[in-house]
């Protein structure tokens, strides 16, 4: 008897759900049809417009400039502040800013889905490099924004001589170390570094901590040997084409040696996550971690009783940290002309108005990249990046030029293999080379 009732209920819900689904399907389909009719004459821009209006109801494309824009971006740390900024922006200019949330992990997929369905945001973020290259046809030329000329050199994402992406900030990463445990001045070579790892292990500490997340496991640390090449992008292409074997390149030999020493003298990164990596460092169990200035926020919950610094990964005598633009703003070229204008106005305001720059510097805690902007409230790690920037001891982020999905799909398995077996460094480098060749085939 009971079962019958339950069955009936289940059937009922299924029916309801299907009715609802059909209900949703109807209007969307209809708008899609009207879209194609409108769009047939006026190409894609009209289609984009149609998609937008059907998405947010009230016609946003009436009049000269849109009174509502949608911002979708991947940096989850600033989501709350961005929402506050949206309110301030509406107060100052009357234009409503809708901020779409994301968990960060699947941001790029969500963005692609939305853009592909003509329901994309007006302003969005991408990692300059492979990502922005792939999305090229969706990006609007931003060269005419007034502050573009004042951006720090090489920071703007340029394509074919046009500025398409406005950088958020610059982020530096390398060896974040505990000044009371390590003397960074003494770390000049791979051997110095390996000696340090040995000493720390004898003292019962981990010399350098990594963690199992793809970029913290191998992505970031692998950037150094690539970025040290004369022309990293050409070098990556040569590896992909099979012309260069990483095993034969000195920087990579040293990198593998260091990675091998990590396996011997430090904890297994596959057993740690980001929280543990940072927690161990904050509580003095690790002398250093391979991280960047972004991880300062992780230390907020700890009473840190030591000073920390940022040092280069000293393979082959490297004395530079990686400093690069992690993400940049882009405007959706498929939105209506009014919305594009509103999107540009938003970026203009963000980088030039008092309120906007105040948010960039104080609320987001960004390292300034526009001439004349200054930030006197930087956290200690970001402050540690500045001297490197000023003395030019920085290298770019070669990993943004890796084939799409490279780090997660191809590099992580190799690193996992390395840390779970006793693979030799030569085998490790061979597998890395193969990974690039395979990843390159697909693209």
């Amino acid at each position: 008897m009971k079962l019958k009732k339950v069955c009936g209920l289940l059937m009922g819900t299924v029916m309801m759900a299907s009715m609802l689904l059909t209900g949703c399907g109807g209007p969307k389909d209809a708008s899609g049809e009207s879209n194609s009719q409108e769009g047939s004459g006026q190409e894609q821009s009209a289609e984009g417009e149609g998609g937008e209006t059907s998405d947010d109801g009230a016609g946003s494309s009436e009049g000269g400039s849109a009174n509502k824009i949608i911002v979708f971006q991947s940096k989850v740390e600033i989501t709350d502040q961005l929402e506050a900024l949206a309110e301030d922006y509406q107060e100052e200019t009357g234009v409503e800013v809708e901020v779409w949330g994301t968990t960060g992990d699947d941001y790029f997929q969500q963005l692609k889905n939305r853009l592909a369905n003509n329901q994309g945001p007006t302003v969005f973020s991408l990692a300059p490099g492979t990502e922005s290259e792939q999305m090229k046809s969706y990006l609007e030329d931003l060269s005419d924004l007034s502050f573009v000329g004042q951006l720090a050199e090489g920071m703007a994402n340029e394509m074919d001589g046009k500025v398409m992406g406005i950088p958020y900030t610059t982020e530096g990463f390398g060896v974040v170390y505990n000044k009371s445990l390590i003397d960074a001045e003494a770390l000049k070579s791979t051997d110095d570094f390996i000696n340090m790892l040995k000493e720390q292990q004898e003292a019962g500490l981990a010399g350098l901590g990594l963690s199992s997340e793809s970029y913290f496991l191998i992505g970031h640390i692998l950037n150094a040997p690539f970025a040290m090449q004369e022309d990293p992008e050409a070098f990556i292409q040569e590896v992909i084409d099979g012309k260069v074997k990483l095993k034969d390149v000195p920087e990579f030999q040293e990198f593998a040696k260091l990675y091998d020493a990590l396996r011997t003298y430090s904890y297994n990164p596959l057993e740690a996550n980001y929280d543990k990596e940072c927690g161990d460092f904050a509580t003095g169990k690790s002398a250093a971690i391979h991280q960047g200035n972004w991880c300062w926020s992780m230390f907020a919950d700890y009473d840190i009783d030591f000073e920390m610094g940022l040092a280069p990964l000293p393979i082959s005598g490297n004395d530079k940290i990686t400093a690069a633009v992690p993400t940049a703003w882009y405007v959706n070229s498929q939105a209506s002309a009014e919305e594009i204008q509103a999107g540009k106005d938003f970026l203009e305001w963000l980088y030039t108005s008092e309120t906007g720059t105040n948010y960039l510097m104080k609320e987001f805690g960004f390292i300034p990249i526009v001439e004349g902007m200054e930030n006197d409230t930087l956290d200690p790690l970001s402050t540690a990046v500045i001297p490197y920037l000023e003395s030019g001891k920085t290298m770019g982020s070669a990993l943004n030029a890796f084939p799409a999905g490279m780090v997660d799909v191809y590099l992580v398995p190799v690193a996992e293999g390395f840390f779970t077996t006793d693979m030799s460094t030569d085998e490790f480098l061979d597998q890395l080379t193969d990974a690039f060749v395979q990843a390159g085939e697909g693209n």
Binding site: G25, S137, G405, V409, T420, G442
Partner: protein, 295 residues
């Protein structure tokens, strides 16, 4: 006239119930499927403004030499074979236990069914903690390092962990189907067998199992297709690691499409995957159907 009206009325009633579902089925299954078959002949990254290049059967030819796809096939086959056995044996055992006159049978049913309600993604994260951190620290404190190590760091053990979690999730669900099957067996048949002197095992194998064949058909079909298609547990528990040792079919396709942006090639993989799942399950159903007995 009246008859025609009645026919029309009947038709309207059928339509009322059938069309909504038919519409949904067509829009979310049939049409995308056909479009998907079309995409599998292109090299494309999924963005409408980017070029679609017609490559004919190249995507399918490339599949044959894709070592990673082939090894994911091997993992899926091993996983499926073992998991089908464990899920069905456990599910059937549970069903036999909770259909006896056990006092706690209703509570037991609920508890055994519970894991299925939690959902694979969350189960995966829970078990990731158990077979990872918890096992490692049990091993450290007790010294039984043989079993209690971090299972997720070893390819074979990670696959075993996948099987354990899938079994834990599915066994309760399969149990419910077996329960209905067992309850449908008339008591007189079983009693007659017992009067004739059949013991527990004889009743089980000679009377209950033949009469349970319809349940076997359903359960094997469900476990077979679910195990071949497994994705959620795979994603949250092992993420395909270590070293791709637990990357299943579905995950390989997901990575190809969403991480590597090879929409067309991934679509080709998905078509092949569909054909395999359809073929295997059809063969299984036709075999077990033949062995069903009519009362």
């Amino acid at each position: 006239m009246a008859k025609r009206n009645k026919n029309l009325k009947n038709f309207a009633w059928y339509a009322l119930f059938v069309f909504p579902l038919l519409f949904v089925f067509a829009t979310v299954v049939l049409i995308p499927f056909v479009i998907g078959v079309g995409y599998s002949f292109f090299s494309w990254d999924g963005l409408p403004l980017n070029p679609k290049i017609f490559v004919g059967l190249d995507n399918f030819i490339r599949l044959l030499s894709d070592s990673r796809f082939l090894s994911s096939a091997v993992h899926t086959v091993i996983f499926t074979l073992v998991a089908i056995v464990t899920i069905n044996v456990l599910g059937l055992a549970f069903a036999l236990v909770v259909t006896t006159k056990l006092k706690v049978r209703n509570v037991a049913r609920t508890m055994l069914f519970m894991p299925y309600l939690i959902g694979g993604l969350i189960l995966g994260y829970i078990w990731k903690f158990i077979v990872g951190d918890a096992f490692a620290s049990i091993g450290e404190t007790t010294g039984w390092g043989g079993i209690f190590t971090n299972w997720l760091l070893d390819g074979k053990l990670a696959l075993a962990a996948m099987i354990v979690v899938a079994t834990w999730q599915m066994a309760g669900y399969i149990m419910i189907i077996y329960i209905t099957g067992i309850q449908a067996i008339p008591d007189d048949v079983v009693e007659a067998a017992q009067v004739d002197g059949a013991g527990f095992w004889q009743t089980l194998f000679k009377i209950k199992f033949p009469l349970l064949m319809p349940s076997f058909t359903i359960c094997l079909f469900m476990t077979l297709s679910n195990c071949l298609k497994i994705f959620d547990v795979n994603l949250s528990l092992t993420g395909g690691g270590p070293q791709n040792a637990t990357e299943m079919f579905a995950m390989n396709i997901y990575n190809e499409i969403f991480s590597l942006n090879n929409y067309g090639y991934g679509q080709a993989k998905a078509i092949v995957f569909f054909l395999i799942v359809a073929l295997v399950t059809l063969v299984q159903v036709s075999i077990t159907k033949k062995r069903e007995v009519e009362m």
